[in-house]
Amino acid sequence: MNNAQPDNTHIQQKDELRYLFVKVGHDHFGIPIDSVKEVIELVETTMVPMCSDVIRGVINVRGSVIPVLDLQRRLGLKLTTPYDKYSCIVLYDFYDHSLEESMTLGMLVNSVVSIEFIDLSNLESSPSFGSNIPRHYEWKMAKINNKLTTLLDIAKVLNVNEINSSLKHEQEQFFIDYCQR
């Protein structure tokens, strides 16, 4: 993280942002690359019982257990594409300010596309309506070679508190379904 700091200012000076472009469903989305720890191939995940399908499961990364989010489900895409041999897990390291804790989460994406340098002048605001993902997940649109790509507001996408409370609710529902059966 410390190494990223001078890099970051360097990039700022050049009015440039670095993004990792991934394919989720049929669309491309940008993830800020500074906090991407690594990208690994899709390994078998362990299901966490009584969780919504936003949670793909947990995996073992060199001795620590890391939760993996299914990004298609998390972004609420209506049409989902099955994951295949090109699918990857993006390990994302971040510091959650509300929890005052740094943590690692995995995001399952259909494939990794490219790393892009985005000039600040090529940023446009996201559409006021008509997008296929909830608007608060979008930060900006990047214009590269006359093609628009949504840059994700990763703090919103990986809002641990929000996911946690929805998981709790979900679990309750599993019990109610079981008992009503």
Binding site: E44, T46, M47, V48, P49, M50, C51, I55, G57, V58, I59, N60, G63, S64, V65, I66, P67, D96, L99, E101, M103, L105, V160, I163, N164, L167, K168, Q171, E172, F174, F175, I176, D177, Y178, C179, Q180, R181
Partner: protein, 703 residues
């Protein structure tokens, strides 16, 4: 040249804190101690503690500490000699001294000057002590005057000094020789008589033990106190008595008893002072005449090893190092499991056998390293003696604290985290639970309230119970208050145990007035939060008018558990092994038709409700009834069955946290990494069953 003393000071602070804690326990025990022998033992321990602190504080020039402990020690010495009875008032005085000393030490170690309030307190204490000491001295002077006027003076011309160091002086770093040498430089014509016989006794000779006792005689024009000062540092480790010229016969008689050999002492006295011959003769016949009961006494000083207060040898280790060790052992367990798996794949018999042996060793290492973290809860419980005493005094109530199961061991992390909640519960019990003496008498209860702290193991968990015989919880009042505060709605109907649990809600208090001790409504919610964070649970049992009991249930350890693994829909799950009662083939105990529309079985004429995990986890696909297995689990009084796909057996489980994302998810208590590298989820059996029960109950009410 300056020496860095900071680490030495840190050690001194921790050591002093321990000694002061010991001192506090001793004082509190003393209050209830009836046997004189035990009381003396405790006083000796107190004395040692104060003395050690004084000595060490002297090294670091902690002036205030030395002043206070010195005077406290002086008065205690009187108590030790039996001239002074430690009554309740004095014990309170010593308890205050203990607190003041602790604050002084902490301040001194931080190189801060104590503030005026503390200094005033110290001065107060010092003057209180001096009052006692003056009163004592007057008494002694009177006694002395009375006895010296009688015939009991001797006609010796030389000073005689009786010096019997006890067995442990050398071990404690004191060499009697240096004191004698110093005495020699201070006085003239020193004659030393040494009794060495004990060295050739029947016991094995221990080079670190002291076997010698001395009779010294010399000429000097110094006062008795000046002579005694020579031996000041060894005072607590030896019997020392000075017989000045024309001394008191009582001193002589008393001292002679300290020596193990009567012939030696008469001989030594004769050598010590030629004018003494007659006295020795006189004493000789005196001894044969009247000392019939005495020979039993002069068995020499009782070695401190016989002390009842058990001292186990301990080693101080940084907690962080222990944590690291346990982490590493955890990794070893996982890697061991993986290696074992690989060994089995090769089919090499010798390799598998060697692996099995290795596995067993790893298991032993795991158990012993986990035990390193286990501490007895007694230490925490003992703290409450003081708390109970102080709070009860403040409220004018009488409370007797009983401690049961102090030897129960639990993880050190728990001990730290459980101490705060216990404090709140105990305060609450005394403030709200136990009535004042008048009310108690009016209700036909004994004047003194009973408070019990109890710890024990129960089916894979540790239970800590705090019970009082006070007025119990007033459920109507709790309900009313909860509705007032908007914690529940008035239309809600709650079960008795749920009403009791309302007292743990934040901001809840039924006390009409806020006291110093409790009533602000913070506190009990801390209890719930802390216990929850340890994956424990709290229960309240209460009978109005008869008292209440709060039960805290904690898991045994946090990091490595013995697990039991089973499979549901191709995923592995682990539950703590000690919750498992038995495992059965489902089709052997019940036919498929019998459980089509219900979730309980008749197991050996007992009703056993069960949860089919496959269905609970929302897996549509069914498997054949004959392939299903039943795991019967028990948590406290709850017993239920879990229907699973297949059994995998016992498995050493290193608990890995699942992180914030899954925090607060009731039924999932963590994850573990299997030998294959895959992850398995650890299920919280009790939460699983409890959730099922509460959801069933909630649904019942709707219908």
């Amino acid at each position: 040249m300056s020496i860095d003393l900071s680490s030495a000071i840190a050690t001194f602070v921790t050591e002093s804190k321990e000694l002061l804690q010991e001192m506090e326990n001793g004082l509190l025990d003393l209050e209830s101690e009836t046997s004189e022998e035990h009381a003396n033992e405790i006083i000796n321990a107190l004395f040692r503690a104060i003395h050690t602190i004084k000595g060490s504080a002297g090294i670091f020039d902690f002036e205030h500490v030395v002043t206070l402990t010195h005077i406290a020690e002086t008065l205690l010495e009187d108590a030790r000699n039996g001239n002074l009875q430690l009554d309740k008032e004095l014990i309170s005085l010593y308890l205050e001294t203990r607190d003041a000393t602790e604050s002084l030490i902490v301040l001194a170690a931080a190189e801060t000057e104590p503030d005026q309030a503390l200094l005033n307190k110290v001065n107060n204490l010092v003057s209180c002590f001096s009052k006692y000491i003056d009163a004592e001295n007057n008494q002694i002077i009177h006694q002395d005057a009375a006895s010296s006027s009688s015939e009991g003076t001797l006609d010796n011309e030389r000073w005689i000094l009786f010096f019997v160091p006890n067995e442990n002086v050398l071990r404690n770093g004191l060499d009697p020789y240096s004191f004698i040498h110093y005495l020699d430089s201070e006085t003239s014509n020193l004659v030393v008589n040494t009794w060495v016989e004990a060295m050739f006794g029947p016991h094995h000779f221990d080079p670190e033990s002291n076997y010698l006792s001395f009779v010294l005689s010399f000429d000097s024009d110094k006062t008795e106190n000046e002579i005694l000062d020579v031996f000041e540092f060894i005072q607590s480790e030896a019997y020392i008595a000075v017989l000045p010229p024309k001394g008191n016969i009582d001193v002589l008689k008393h001292s002679i008893q300290k020596y193990q050999d009567f012939d030696f002492i008469t001989d030594a006295l004769r050598k010590a002072d030629s004018s003494f011959a007659d006295i020795v003769k006189l004493l000789n016949c005196d001894a044969t005449d009247t000392n019939d009961p005495v020979p039993a006494v002069p068995e020499g000083p009782v070695p401190p090893a016989a002390s009842k207060i058990h001292k186990s040898k301990t080693l101080r280790v940084e907690a962080l190092k222990l944590d690291r060790l346990i982490d590493q052992v955890g990794e070893m367990v996982i890697t061991g499991a993986r290696t074992n798996l690989l060994a089995h794949e090769t089919g090499n018999e010798t390799l598998i056998e060697a692996m099995a042996l290795l596995e067993r060793l790893v298991e032993n290492i795991r158990d012993s390293s986990l035990k390193l973290r286990m501490v007895q809860i007694g230490e925490t419980f003992n703290k409450f003696k003081r708390v109970v005493r102080d709070i009860a005094d403040e409220l004018g109530k009488q409370v007797d604290l009983t401690i049961i199961g102090a030897e129960t061991e639990l993880d050190k992390t728990f001990v730290e985290k459980v101490s705060d909640p216990l404090m709140h519960i105990v305060r609450n019990a005394i403030d709200h639970g136990i009535e004042d003496p008048e009310t108690r008498l009016a209700q036909g209860k004994p004047e003194q309230g009973q408070l019990t702290l109890k710890a024990y193991h129960d089916s894979g968990s540790i239970v800590i119970e705090v019970s009082d015989d006070g007025k119990g919880l007033d459920q109507e009042k709790i309900l009313k208050r909860a509705i007032d505060r908007g914690l529940i709605s008035s239309s809600q109907t709650l079960q008795e145990k749920d009403i009791n649990l309302l007292i743990f809600e934040p901001g809840f208090s039924t006390a009409e007035s806020i006291t110093n001790i409790s009533g602000r409504g913070v506190g009990m919610d801390v209890v719930k939060r802390n216990i929850d964070s340890l994956r424990g649970s709290v229960e309240v049992e209460s009978v109005q008018g008869e008292g209440s009991t709060i039960l805290i249930r904690l898991p045994l350890t946090l990091s490595i558990i013995d697990g039991f693994m089973f499979e549901v829909h191709k995923e592995n799950y682990v539950i703590p092994l000690d919750t498992v009662v038995e495992c059965l083939e489902l089709h052997e105990v019940v036919s498929e038709q019998d459980i089509q529309d219900k979730s309980y079985i008749n197991l050996r004429t007992e009703v056993l409700p069960f949860i089919r995990l496959r269905t609970l986890f929302g897996i549509e696909e069914q498997i054949d009834h004959t392939r299903e297995s039943l795991v019967i689990v028990q948590f406290g009084t709850l017993r239920a069955g879990l229907v699973v796909d297949s059994l995998k057996g016992e498995f050493q489980t290193v608990v890995k946290p699942l992180g914030r994302l899954f925090e607060g998810l009731k039924c999932i208590s963590g994850a573990t990494i299997l030998g294959s590298g895959n992850v398995a989820i650890i299920l919280d059996v009790s939460a699983l069953i409890k959730s099922a029960i509460s959801v069933y109950e909630a649904l019942e009410k709707k219908h």
